[in-house]
């Protein structure tokens, strides 16, 4: 057991069995999750409809670079004279697509590895976990940079590269939970009654781990967007794809800071930050629901209170 083991060992041991609709109930009840979901939905809508509704084109040079905001251009023009708001909406498309797609890839790999290792145990477990451990220790962004710089700069490559390196955390967490689910009565009963492994996994294991998968997927979207933004800044993004990261890079290269053109830098970063924050809130709310802290503290700043009962009180 090592330090890296710690983070996955404890939660699974205390996780409550997921009930049907856990995800939905969390998303409906916890304020942080509601806010997060609202924000994400907002940006998805902007991404889908925004560029279509904008009167300006994404490549349409309208005026002088770094024109300050005005009524017709609420966020001014960028370093090439294109409307910032339109660019931001287009950026939403690219960034969100990368985020969701990469997260999907990572979840698929992670679930495959984690469930297989947890369910079948034995040699496959050991082998898979060794591989996972190595990937876990190697710093993600560094490897992404290296691969992206060798492979090439098409958006699909970027998505694959990010997805292919983000699966490790999910794999470990899933493995831990699947291991404990495997020992549960209904699973053993299903197998004893002659159910195949595949059937058991689909019918009994997957429903139990699905909230955990969803929580991980959401958190990975945040990481994927962060990584894409970073890769774009380092010049490794797809030059034809306009993502928020690319907008930050363009502004930075065109010396927006010196020009005082805050409208070219601040909005794209805020968009990224907002989406990442929203995903983090949702993901954490889900994780909290799966690992409730049952203990109250014995100690806090304020201690217990004294009350004097009057004669008439019961």
């Amino acid at each position: 057991m090592s330090v890296a083991d710690m983070e996955t060992k404890l939660p699974a041991a205390e996780a409550t069995p997921a009930r049907r609709g856990t995800v939905r109930s969390v998303l409906r009840e916890r304020p942080s999750a509601i806010v997060g979901l609202a924000v994400v939905v907002f940006f998805i809508l902007v991404a889908i409809f925004g560029p279509m509704l904008s009167p300006y084109g994404v490549h349409e040079k309208i005026g002088t670079p770094f024109t300050p905001p005005s009524l017709s251009h609420p966020l001014g023009l960028d370093d090439a004279g294109i409307d910032m708001v339109t660019l931001l909406m287009q950026g939403a498309r690219v960034s969100l697509v990368v985020g969701f797609a990469a997260s999907l890839i990572a979840i698929l790999i992670g679930a495959l590895v984690g469930v297989t290792a947890g369910y079948f145990g034995g040699k496959s477990d050991v082998a898979l976990m060794r591989v996972t451990d190595y990937f876990l220790v190697v710093p993600d962004l560094v490897l992404m940079i290296v691969i992206a710089s060798i492979w090439g700069q098409k958006l699909i490559y970027i998505i694959i590269v990010i997805g292919a390196l983000l699966w490790t955390g999910t794999a470990r967490v899933l493995r831990a939970q699947v291991k404990s689910i495997r020992e549960r009565v209904y699973v053993r009963r299903s197998l004893a009654l002659g159910g195949s492994n595949g059937h058991t996994i689909v019918q009994h294991v997957l429903p139990q781990v699905s909230p955990l998968i969803v929580a991980n997927a959401v958190l990975l979207i945040a990481v994927a967007i962060f990584d894409e933004t970073a890769l774009a800044y380092l010049g490794l993004g797809d030059p034809t794809a306009i993502s928020w990261g690319k907008l930050i890079k363009n502004a930075s290269e065109a010396a927006a800071v010196s020009a005082g053109a805050w409208w070219a830098i601040v909005p794209p970063g805020l968009c990224v930050a907002t989406v990442i924050l929203a995903c983090t809130l949702i993901g954490q709310a889900l994780e909290d629901a799966l690992n409730p802290r049952l203990k109250a503290s014995y100690l806090a700043a304020r201690g217990f209170r004294i009350r004097r009962l009057r004669e008439d009180e019961p």
Binding site: A296, I306, L309
Partner: protein, 325 residues
């Protein structure tokens, strides 16, 4: 032996619940314990017995509100909350908890944990304190050489014995024991109880023993109190509770044949304990009582004094009510 060392007067404890609402865990409990006595406090889980003894040391959590008095040798421990409770802790009254596994700090040696209160309260320091700690360990049957070991290196029974040694560090007058033998096997249970008995005789310690294990109480304690649903159902000498119970709950409890394997829980009386987050108008035991009569569902029974030392909270003991019905 009949000098009162600790008395609880009309103790109430409320807990704020996380989703709003209040749990009335202890509802007006009064009892008194004599010096040198072994006093049992029994009842089902959730009846308020643990909360009651925690209140005796003022060890209530931040979400608690308390009213009433706890007089330890005449001084009200709860008068000013934490401030009035703290000076008595460990010096006059100490405690051993259920499951010493968690009650001991895993990253400190056992010796350090016994030493700490000694140095804190000025009983001994340095080498002298270590010496005393070693003596205490030997008193409970653990070798002195174990002072520098960590709790996880001890077995369950040894940990509990170490906890007893720790509880004796500042020579308290009263020891509270909260389910000290739960989760230990029978042989070890007997050892621990024998130890407590011996220490109480030899050192003149007053022991208040909280448990749900009736044969244990019957064996070890002089007097006992039975709690139910936050109230004190009955209190009195052990054989009186056994042979002449004045509360139906006491009677049902003690009429069970003691389980020779020592694994008995409280015998199952049909029904469930009451919810304490809502006010109960009458007697909390009424739904499960086989002798309930007219006033029981609407009038709260008071703690009524019977012969000396005995009290019961049951309308059946109230001549005024029984004559009327």
């Amino acid at each position: 032996m009949s000098e009162t060392i600790l008395s609880v007067e009309d103790l109430h404890v409320w807990f704020d619940l996380p989703r709003g609402g209040v749990l009335h865990a202890v509802q007006g409990v009064s009892l008194s314990v004599d010096r040198g006595e072994r006093f049992g406090l029994v009842g089902e889980s959730g009846c308020g017995k643990t909360t009651t003894i925690l209140a005796m040391m003022g060890l209530l959590p931040p979400n608690a509100t308390v009213s009433g008095r706890v007089l330890l040798e005449g001084e009200d421990v709860l008068a000013e909350g934490e401030r009035s409770a703290r000076p008595h802790r460990w010096v006059d009254i100490s405690m051993i908890f259920q499951g010493a596994m968690n009650a001991l700090n895993p990253v400190q040696t056992v010796g350090a944990q016994i030493l700490e209160p000694m140095e804190l309260h000025g009983y001994a320091t340095g080498v002298d304190a270590r010496e005393r700690a070693g003596t205490l360990l030997e008193l409970v049957g653990i070798g002195r050489d174990r002072l520098d070991r960590f709790p996880h290196e001890f077995s369950g029974g040894m940990r509990q014995r170490a906890a007893i040694a720790m509880a004796l560090a500042c020579e308290p007058k009263v020891i509270l024991a909260d389910e000290p033998t739960t989760a230990l096997d029978v042989m070890v249970q007997a050892q621990i109880l024998g130890l407590l008995e011996r220490l109480s005789e030899e050192l003149g310690l007053t022991v208040i023993l909280v448990t749900h294990d009736l044969p244990l109480v019957a064996h070890v304690c002089h007097r006992a109190a039975v709690m139910y649903g936050g109230i004190l159902a009955e209190v009195g000498p052990m054989d009186a509770l056994y042979h002449d119970p004045r509360h139906p709950y006491t009677r049902m409890l003690f009429s069970a044949v003691p389980d020779p394997t020592g694994e008995s829980e409280v015998i199952s009386i049909p029904g469930a304990p009451p919810r304490l987050d809502r006010p109960i108008p009458g007697c909390p035991f009424e739904p499960r009582c086989d002798r309930a009569f007219e006033p029981c569902s609407s009038v709260r029974p008071r703690q009524i004094s019977l012969t000396d030392g005995r009290e019961a909270s049951c309308h059946l003991n109230d001549p005024a009510l029984t004559e009327a019905s």
